[in-house]
Amino acid sequence: MTFSLFIQSLINGLNQGAIYALIALGYTMVYGIIRMINFAHGDFIMIGSYTLFYTIPLMINVGMPAWLAVFISIVVCSAVGVLVEVIAYKPVRKAGAMSALITAMAMSLFLENLAMLLFGAKPHNVQKIFSLPSVNFLGVPLPLNVILTIVIGVVMMLGLQLFIKKTKMGKAMRAVPQDRDASILAGINVNRVITYTFAIGSALAAVAALMYCAKYPRVTNDMGSMMGIKAFIAAVLGGIGIIPGAMLGGVLVGLIEIFVKLFAPGWYEAITYATLIVILLVKPSGILGKNVGEKV
């Protein structure tokens, strides 16, 4: 492999990884708080992408940069995330893990089919979001669009870390997964924390949608399911429930995927998944996970 190809693949892998990482954060944060896999989370990307598809022309019409549409997308996704939790998940929260899991799967199918009803099954092409040139770095052409996408991902992750370390709500979001009773005794309103968690997780999915559409501007009603599965795997790989784990897992899955694609294009998914299975066989609780039983 030439140096140039290596650097370009590295950057593509980081780009892909940053997208997975932002999605994986949504899975892991929700799991941390309510011990549930929100299978509809991947579909929030689809909702964010359709929002971009419809709002980018509006932005351009009023003379604003296309990427500002992400803020509308964030609002829409957060609202959908919070509504999904209140309408579908909250009523089954006491009914046990299996009911919650099935509800989440049903919600995923519902969102995908609702989107098909509303927007049709034909792919929609999102307008260009970033139009930056490529620059030459040590003889390697680097597309600044891709670099910018990585930077957005890194800024979002740093912002999230700062939020959960420094703010009151952030501390509450760390406290509840560790000890729900102690959190309530300290005065934390757990329902509010759950609402915020869904809002923030969905907002991150909206940003991931922007990053995804900047690279692959094709929106379909089922685009969320494949990405959702890979991001979920990334979250498990890093250690489900652990925020830095989701970031690490996302970047790893992205890098593995892009590099495997380079050597064995037809095999990349099989090899990516096999690698993940091996890692999980060696360390079932994920890379940053602790090997402890579930607390009772």
């Binding site: 501390k171 509450a172 560790q178 000890d179 009773d181 102690a182 005794l185 300290a186 005065g187």
Partner: protein, 232 residues
């Protein structure tokens, strides 16, 4: 200050508490003693709203606790040091203390300085993850965290559990000191002898019913208590 009247609690079909009444007056230390499974912890958890009551009244400082959102109870200045300490293991000692002031961050720095003065060990370890502390230190942290909320009253559940005899002594002397500063205490203990020795009054709970109540000193001499709980 705290009044519990005809409290009944069940877990599904299991009737755990059958009409318990007790009261704690301002400034007292009152202990609730009894065997494992008698329902002591259930009573404290129901007072704090972590467990739903079937019927009965729980009043604290004029507020109806059964109608209070559990996460708002700390705002009434009633704290709870739960059984098994329940510290936030993945947070530092200092963050744990900050969580104690979550409901009311006013004067947090000053209160933290007081807590550190009372527990110098916590100050030494303030940047350490709470999960790495020893059992005794974790218990100190749980008490310190409760004090961060500047409570008028603390419910303490088995503070001596799993501690060495020396630490048990220390924790009981801390409870006495905290009480001297004007904080009322309802103490649940299996270590009946220690509990009675620092309490003003006490209740004995047997499988969900209060069977004996009275002055703590007198209960120390009571034959039934001595046989059943003091091993004499």
């Amino acid at each position: 200050m705290l009044e519990v009247k005809n409290l009944e609690v069940s877990y599904g079909a299991v009737h755990a508490i059958h009409g318990v009444s007790l009261q704690v007056r301002d400034g007292e230390i009152v202990s609730l003693i009894g065997a494992n499974g008698a329902g002591k912890t259930t009573i404290l958890r129901t007072i704090s709203g972590l467990q739903k009551a079937d019927t009965g009244e729980i009043t604290f400082d004029g507020s109806d606790l059964r109608k209070t959102e559990p996460s708002r109870i700390i705002n009434l200045k009633l704290a709870h040091v739960p059984e098994g300490r329940h510290i936030f293991a993945q947070m530092t000692v200092e963050e744990n203390l900050e969580m104690g002031a979550f409901a009311d961050v006013k004067d947090m720095a000053a209160t933290m300085a007081e807590v550190y003065e009372r527990f110098p060990r916590l100050k030494e370890r303030r940047r350490q993850l709470a999960g790495t502390l020893s059992g005794g230190e974790q218990q100190m942290l749980a008490v310190g965290r409760a004090l961060m909320g500047k409570p008028k009253m603390i419910l303490m559940d088995e503070p001596s559990m799993g501690l060495s005899p020396l630490l048990v002594k220390e924790i009981f002397s801390i409870i006495k000191e905290v009480n001297k500063q004007g904080i009322t205490i309802l103490l649940v203990e299996q270590n009946a002898k220690m509990a009675l020795s620092i309490s003003n009054r006490a209740y004995v709970l047997e499988t969900g019913d209060i069977t004996i109540e009275g002055d703590a000193r007198e209960l120390l001499k009571d034959d039934r208590v001595r046989k059943a709980y003091l091993g004499q």
